[in-house]
Amino acid sequence: KVEFGGGLELLFDNQRSHKLTLPARVPLDNSTSSPPSSPPSPQNNEYEGETKPVDVAYLVHWLRHHLLKERAELFMEGDTVRPGILVLINDTDWELEGEGEYVIKNGDEVVFISTLHGG
């Protein structure tokens, strides 16, 4: 489950909460250009080449390519989320969970909160 807060939902069709299903293994280079068939089977490794267990870094790229409706530069900068966006994994700061390298498990909840609305 992915949630957006702090105004970030405006970039994702104004929808705060999304339920996603991702494959268990994904390309090492976070390529999301050829998404697996829906619903993807966790057993199949549908990607050729080097793969890794699905992690938050891949989720960010996936959201950017498949769910983001506008202004990608407000969500991502380079290979990761833009500075000023907090990421919580199961209500815990992603800095405590290894940031982008955290391997996503079934049922995990990831929240992206923008802090860029100032004081």
Partner: protein
């Protein structure tokens, strides 16, 4: 280009280990029992310890500013000389500030003067600190064509807080004589055609650079809030500036020539004139969140389920000094979170060399001497070698501080 670090003992393919984002373990440093939920400047806190920690930090910042004179060695009861105005911008900081102040100083306490017959006595800690609280919002959409009016969204949020009065203002009120009369300020009559809104738009369009627009709107907003506070017999005006925003505004202020007023940017005691000051009519501008970083505000808002109205990005703001500074410091905070507090601490150590020679007639802050002489020395005013002939026309320039003088005269390079 060589990417080697030059150390002959290092392997050529060696990767520098990533710096840890937190010290020691993932356990909360306060209770040492729960797993941490959040990292703030390398310290790990669980959710149960984070919220009380935040309340206590804000309390330690705001309470010393409540009594008119600073406390001596003996701690006194909290007894402000007037009411409280909370400035609300719709942003993250002011949303958090409103919630914290309401919970800590209004909803959890009985109104002043009421006594509970069942209680043992009149416990001052159970009584409200300020008799009345108002929440003031300044709508700026009039300054920009097509910007959405957020007053109703803000009203909906503020009305959730009982006993706090919502006071909506508009940025064009600064050009409305009837508004100034309503806050007991008598202006000299001037002939002007058109509405306050058209006067505001003319003023903004005549500014010389894009950076001048957000600075001007900030000055006008600040003046509207200060006069509203004074006219509502409020002794305190609370702003929701968090530590991150404060560091941004301090650096941005210095970049725009406002270094003389660094202290006022953190906390100031404002009076409209010396007569009011002598009568004790002043407003203390405080920033209770000035030791709270933006990340803490965001986590508080998320865990408390607070709705953030947000602030519209001003068109053209990307080019302004404030926006560039914000992008830089937000980026710095991500990799070096302690830097942000260092900026605020260093600025707190600075004080101007000269004493103020009066008050700027535009921003109402202390003005330094010799602004025009300095400007003449550092810029080429004329290609002629003859000394400049002084103009007979009345001019605002001698009455402005350096920052306002720069805002009104400094042209963009484009």
């Amino acid at each position: 280009m060589s990417t080697s670090c030059g150390n002959p003992n290092a392997e050529s393919d060696a990767l520098m280990p990533r710096r840890r984002k937190f010290d020691r373990s993932k356990l909360c440093i306060k209770c040492k029992i729960n797993q941490g939920n959040i990292v703030i400047r390398h310290a790990v806190y669980c959710k149960d310890c984070f919220l009380p920690m935040m309340y206590n930090k804000i309390k330690r910042t705001i309470e010393p500013t409540i009594n008119p004179t600073p406390e001596g060695p003996r701690k006194k009861n909290l007894n402000p000389s007037g009411n409280l105005v909370i400035a609300f911008s719709g942003g993250l900081g002011s949303t958090v500030l409103l919630d914290v102040i309401y919970r800590g100083y209004f909803s959890s306490r009985r109104p002043r003067g009421e006594t509970n017959t069942l209680s043992e006595g009149k416990d001052p800690k159970k009584e409200r600190v300020w008799k009345e609280g108002k929440v003031c919002y300044v709508e700026v959409c009039g300054a920009f064509h097509g910007m959405r009016d957020r007053t109703d969204d803000v009203r909906r949020i503020v009305e959730r807080y009982d006993d706090l009065e919502f006071v909506p203002l508009r940025i064009e009120d600064a050009f409305d004589e009837s508004w100034w009369e309503s806050v007991d300020l008598i202006l000299s009559p001037c002939s002007r055609n058109g509405t306050p809104l058209s006067a505001l738009c003319n003023y903004l369009s005549s500014l010389p650079a894009p950076t001048a627009i957000p600075s001007t709107l900030q000055t006008l907003t600040r003046l509207l809030l200060l006069h509203t506070a004074l006219s509502t017999h409020s002794s305190h005006l609370a702003l929701g500036t968090c530590l991150t925003s404060l560091s941004i505004s301090l650096v941005s202020l210095v970049a725009q020539g406002g270094g003389f007023n660094l202290k006022e940017e953190v906390q100031e005691e404002w009076s409209p004139d010396s007569l009011s000051r002598s009568k004790g009519r002043s407003v203390r501008v405080v920033r209770p969140l000035k030791d709270i970083v933006m990340k803490e505000c965001a986590m508080y808002a998320w865990w408390k389920g607070l709705e953030i109205v947000g602030q519209e990005t001003w068109p053209g703001a990307r080019q302004g000094i404030s926006r560039i500074t914000k992008d830089f410091i937000i980026g710095l905070e991500k990799d070096y979170p302690s830097t942000v507090s260092t900026i605020a601490r260093t600025c707190a150590k600075l004080s101007p060399k000269d004493h103020a020679v009066g008050t700027c007639i535009l921003c109402n802050r202390p003005a330094q001497p010799g602004v025009q002489e300095w400007k003449n020395r550092i810029s080429i005013r004329s290609l002629s070698t003859d000394p400049p002939v002084s103009s007979e026309k009345a001019s605002l320039a001698p009455y402005l501080c350096y920052a306002c003088h720069t805002t009104l005269t400094s042209k963009s390079s484009k």
